[in-house]
Symmetry: C2
């Protein structure tokens, strides 16, 4: 007969160590020992416990254990990226996940959307869940609010963008260097009127890329036409519209540097729309899928998001393993991939 005092919604209660212990006829601590592979349990006892655990489909409660355990590790990481459906973020995420999974660590992922408020909320959500470490892409102007958490020993590693107002590890692309490389490449083709299409000025990497680009023009002694430097483009549509405006102007650029993947896609649309894709050079920052199949292929300064993610995760685990050395700023290089669009000369 089934018990009359069943659960409310017909759902069986979740088994605990106590249930397993009862069924196996041992003490609860012995179950704990078996589940955690601690020594000094006879093979027969071990087997009885394992059988009981299997019979009840017992799953240990990591958080209850963590509450009492001395290391206080939840084996959980918090990851904040631009957006989980952006390919760049996806690659970072995947690299972090791989490094984490290897160590039995699960990853909370959140999307930032370049919103400082989402940043704060995501971090708070991570901390309430007692993640062992944080890997963050940030949008706020100042991350000093993380200082107390850092003092408590929680590893915090910044990825993609550098921290401000706080001293901690960071893994970033060589944004200025990559942008300069793009500018130099276009200058080498003979271009002098190069448009710059950039992301929100509030984003640290966007400022870096702009700086690298402008510095390179400066070094080459090319005067800067302010009307060709457009910032605060945050999606394909805005980028497309901005470039259309430049192309339709009286003195259009002969080359374009688009400083982010979505902006590059918007620029590609604008060039096609005006039929200028074969005579206007284009170099994009960040690689894009299918760039090699377009005609012309899209020349890009490729970042290495997988390296960013992997290295950031490794920093976190090194810190968790006791590394107390000074915080590092690790710069990952970029790679110029020539596919055609960046090798168009201004002659026409």
């Amino acid at each position: 007969m089934t018990s009359l005092s069943a659960q409310s919604a017909g759902s069986k209660p979740r088994p605990t160590m106590r249930h397993v212990a009862e069924l196996a006829g041992v003490g609860i601590k012995t179950v704990s020992r078996v589940i955690n592979g601690e020594p000094n349990v006879t093979p027969e006892t071990t087997q009885r416990v394992l059988d009981a655990a299997r019979a009840l489909d017992y799953q240990p409660d990591l958080h209850a254990g963590n509450l009492r355990r001395s290391d206080r590790r939840t084996r959980t990481l918090g990851l904040l990226v631009g957006s989980v459906d952006n390919p760049f973020s996806g690659a970072v995420h995947r690299a972090v996940e791989d490094a984490a999974a290897e160590r039995g660590v699960a990853v909370f992922a959140s999307s930032l959307d370049d919103d400082p408020e989402r940043e704060r909320e995501a971090v708070a959500a991570f901390l309430r869940r007692r993640v062992d470490g944080l890997i963050l892409t940030v949008a706020s102007a100042d991350q000093a609010y993380l200082e107390p958490e850092l003092q408590r020993g929680t590893p915090v590693v910044f990825v993609d963008r550098e921290p401000s107002g706080i001293e901690t590890d960071a893994v970033v692309s060589d944004n200025a260097g990559g942008a300069a490389r793009a500018a130099e490449h276009l200058l080498a083709q003979g271009h002098r009127r190069i448009a710059y299409l950039g992301d929100l000025h509030s984003i640290q990497t966007a400022r870096e890329r702009r700086r690298g680009f402008l510095d390179a023009l400066d070094r080459a002694g090319v005067p800067i036409d302010e009307s060709l430097v457009v910032e605060d483009l945050h999606d394909q549509g805005a980028a497309c519209a901005a470039l259309l405006r430049l192309l339709d102007g009286s003195n259009p650029p002969t080359a374009v540097f688009s400083a982010q993947n979505l902006i590059t896609i918007g620029a590609l649309h604008a060039l096609r729309e005006r039929g200028r894709h074969r005579d206007t050079a284009l170099v994009g920052f960040d690689d894009i899928e299918l760039a090699d199949l377009l005609e012309p292929g899209v020349t890009v300064i490729a970042q290495h998001p997988d390296d960013l993610g992997r290295i950031a995760a490794e920093r976190v685990f090194e810190r968790l393993d006791g590394d107390r050395s000074a915080s590092q700023r690790i710069v990952v290089g970029t790679t110029l991939i020539m596919r055609g669009s960046g090798e168009i000369s201004p002659g026409r």
Copy 2:
């Protein structure tokens, strides 16, 4: 002077409600009331507690609370997708995240890589962390192992692929219908020799797409040339190689249906490599970025991963809110997007 009995690594201890209570000069239960916004606390007491919490940078421990709380909700979801760096998965993930964030729920994301073992490990990792619900894309042949968890009342919703060996909610694309639509579209252009490039036969959606495709040919009375039906292609390289082989054969296809996004990209490479992209028709299953900028544009059967993710998340939350109705199988339609490649006729 600083205390001599400081922390080992110079890290301050994490404050608990007890510390806040002490600093505010109140009982610990009063702190709990304030933090959780429970009624019956005077404004002055509330203020003192909030000040103390702020001063200590107190963050409540969600898991400790959950242990005692009656609802036993961790406000956490487990999401298993193909791979977090696949654009389709990214869109599903983003939709789930948005629905979850709205409710203060955090999301664990894991990549499946179509590996049954990873599936089991990811699910176990989720359950040890006591997620409130599971949204799963699966690779195993049978998910009966989830039955006990389902009995305990944990909502489990399958996304993208249907469950097997278990009765629960599922949100899937109309795979057979979409594949049939692709076949019909190519047939309508006059094609009779249409190649099928499919994913691993072990994947349920791959079998569905193959079935839909073959059934459509059958209905049209077009004989099936087995040599044109290639399965078990799991990445760009394999797809590219397979299509090259077909193109180099004595009787190449006049049209190609590529049944998955990576396969479509591999097919595009193969067609370019042989210079056949303007005379061989191509329809891909699943939309791909930049498909509209290629020449010809890539005709696709677009899925709606954002809808899949959003609806799956909604199902989970409805179940959590007490919905005990029979499990549903929700089918999300696909959309044929004509961009040129699918409208090439066999004539040449």
